[in-house]
């Protein structure tokens, strides 16, 4: 059976919106203070981002059921965990603390903005940056293995699932950006040592 043709003109703005949100989350991730990252850890990060993008923009056979209360609960959980990890563990000094805080921050924002379902699609990519933050896995060979594994996973996923069809992605409500933007700014300011 041939899959129905994708209505690209209708799909493009939605893909762009969601890609912008993912891009903004990648910027948040990078903005978290951390000790000088090793080249290997950056390879893990790039692999994680590629995998997350592929996971979000491929076809899913899932019902269109969402729950705003759940989005908010999980979003708050992610943001509070990020605040705790950044403050309690001193993210600027410990690479894993920074990785954990940044990943929690990104997940919290994703849950709040894109919703639980779409965020859960990206969730399998979360271990990649965390593994890159483990000092023993920060070497270039380990990072290359991580990057290769992520890219291979992304290619296999894209080939098996196919591109995102129309109707799978919802329009991002701009009002959803306000709370995570404010919360993420506060977490980042606190992590950078700003006190009030």
């Amino acid at each position: 059976m041939t899959p129905p043709p994708v209505a690209l003109p209708a799909l493009r703005p939605l893909v762009l919106q969601h890609a912008l949100v993912l891009g903004a989350c990648a910027c948040l991730w990078a903005a978290m203070p951390r000790p000088a990252a090793s080249p290997g850890s950056w390879m893990w990060n790039i692999g994680g981002l590629a995998l997350a993008t592929t996971l979000v923009f491929t076809r899913r056979h899932q019902p269109h059921i969402d729950d705003r209360d759940l989005d908010r609960i999980l979003g708050c959980g992610g943001l509070l965990t990020a605040a705790w990890a950044a403050l309690q563990w001193d993210a600027g000094e410990h690479p894993f603390a920074a990785g954990a805080a940044a990943t929690s921050l990104v997940l919290g924002c994703l849950f709040w903005v894109l919703g639980t379902r779409e965020s859960c699609w990206a969730l399998p990519a979360a271990p990649a940056p965390l593994l890159g933050a483990v000092p023993a896995l920060g070497s270039v060979p380990a990072g290359a293995v991580g990057l290769a594994a992520c890219l291979l996973g992304a290619v296999v996923m894209a080939a098996r699932r196919g591109p995102v069809p129309p109707g799978q992605l919802d329009r991002v409500d701009p009002r959803r950006l306000v709370v995570p933007a404010v919360a993420a700014s506060l977490v980042l300011l606190a992590a950078w040592g700003w006190s009030w």
């Binding site: 059976m1 899932q62 019902p63 059921i65 209360d69 759940l70 705790w84 639980t116």
Partner: protein, 507 residues
Amino acid sequence: MGVVLVTPDVTQNRTRFLSVPPASVLAEDHDQLVELSCHGLATAAPAYSARSVLVRWQGVVLAVLTAGLLAGLLLSPRTAGVVVIALVVLAYIAALGYRLALFRLGARGGRTVMVSDEEARSVPDDQLPTYTVLVPVFHEPLLGELVERLERLDYPRHLLDVRLLLEADDTETADAARRITPREHVRVVTVPSLDPRTKPKACNYGFLTAESAMCTIYDAEDDPDSLQLRRAVVAMRRLGPSYACVQARLGFYNSAQNMLTRWFTLDYGSWFTNMLPGLVALGAPVPLGGTSNHFRSDVLRDVGAWDPWNVTEDADLGLRLHRAGYRVGVLGSTTLEEANPDAINWVRQRSRWYKGYIQTFLVHVRSPRLVTSQLGARGVAGLVVFIAGTPLLSALNGFFWALTAMWFTSHDPAIAALFPPVVYYLGMVCLVLGNLSVLYMGVFTARQLERPDLLPAALLMPLYWGLMWLAALKAVIQLVTAPSYWEKTTHGLHRQQTTAAEAGGAS
């Protein structure tokens, strides 16, 4: 409308909350039927209706407790924290003990009414009562399949009255209803689109004009045991007039679909095989399930049928029956239904149940002295520990997991200060023995169901508790923001996902 009683009428230790005109009268008087369906219980016995969630004294108590907690946290945070945690730990221990006792009582067996196929079939037709089967449906295009499944029920057609309850503005289901082959014993009832737009209102509307002696409910996805109606008739005769209802077991036909459906199967297995029989053995009220409960129609009318304002009208009805002096039995017959295979849909469904449990608890403790005299000490213990404790303690689980994680990752002395030795050791009992015993219940249930394939799911149950926590937290939030909002569970996902997988495979 001068038909309802304002004061509950007590005769022979049985309480009548509502005096409903005969079905034939209501069939002619549509306005009265609608009024009774929507507001009958709330008007006649407001103390038993969830139309308003909190009565004045409950609001005052909650406000005082909240103010006390806030004042304590401001003035002496450590002492307040210790007191709160100690109270919660004690509640956990009570709930754990109660659950273990119930499970043990239920697992002993002998509390489920078993009716053999031969005995069920042996009842002559002229000794069988008329039976109404209510099937509330909403956005259900595959109505034909549902009717075919109900056609497998082994019951004389001239005694059967199947009522498909459709919402007036549900054109999708109405179209499907027009395509059904007409049958004498199947009728489509169109329920007016008035608030509250809930399943119990539809059930009331369908039930109040039924003239049958017995009544049951099935959901659109249900596939009941073909002899279930006959078994229910035999069981009710065996149990006697003090029993108003028997609850059949619920199982799943897609239990092996994914990990969530396996967890759900264990959850339901434990509930119907051990917990409900345990409640029966203890003499505590039995919160009914949403389908496959078989009532004596006269009793159902007397207790006011379903409360359309309660989002777990089934659990509430089980309690109301008990308060009215009746008992509920558990029937050894299984209705297969769809296990929710989608986590978000599952959280929505479970949060409605949890919200309804808290709502039901608040309704039934409005008159503490009265409810104690009606339920007895064991019944009240069940009401507090089981009905209120389950959602509230589930909602607190996340807080304690977070505290545990924070302690292990920071060794912050402020956290240690919240746990003086007595509280700490009691908390450890909860953490270690509590979690192990709940895991054991899952493994035991897998063994009981003779489903070794469920063993990995039983051992991974802590992940399911995470979902339960999310649902409980959502329920508590929604109880404040939207207490009567009925969160519709989407059904048919099993079918949709199978179709999608087949389409994916074919392409």
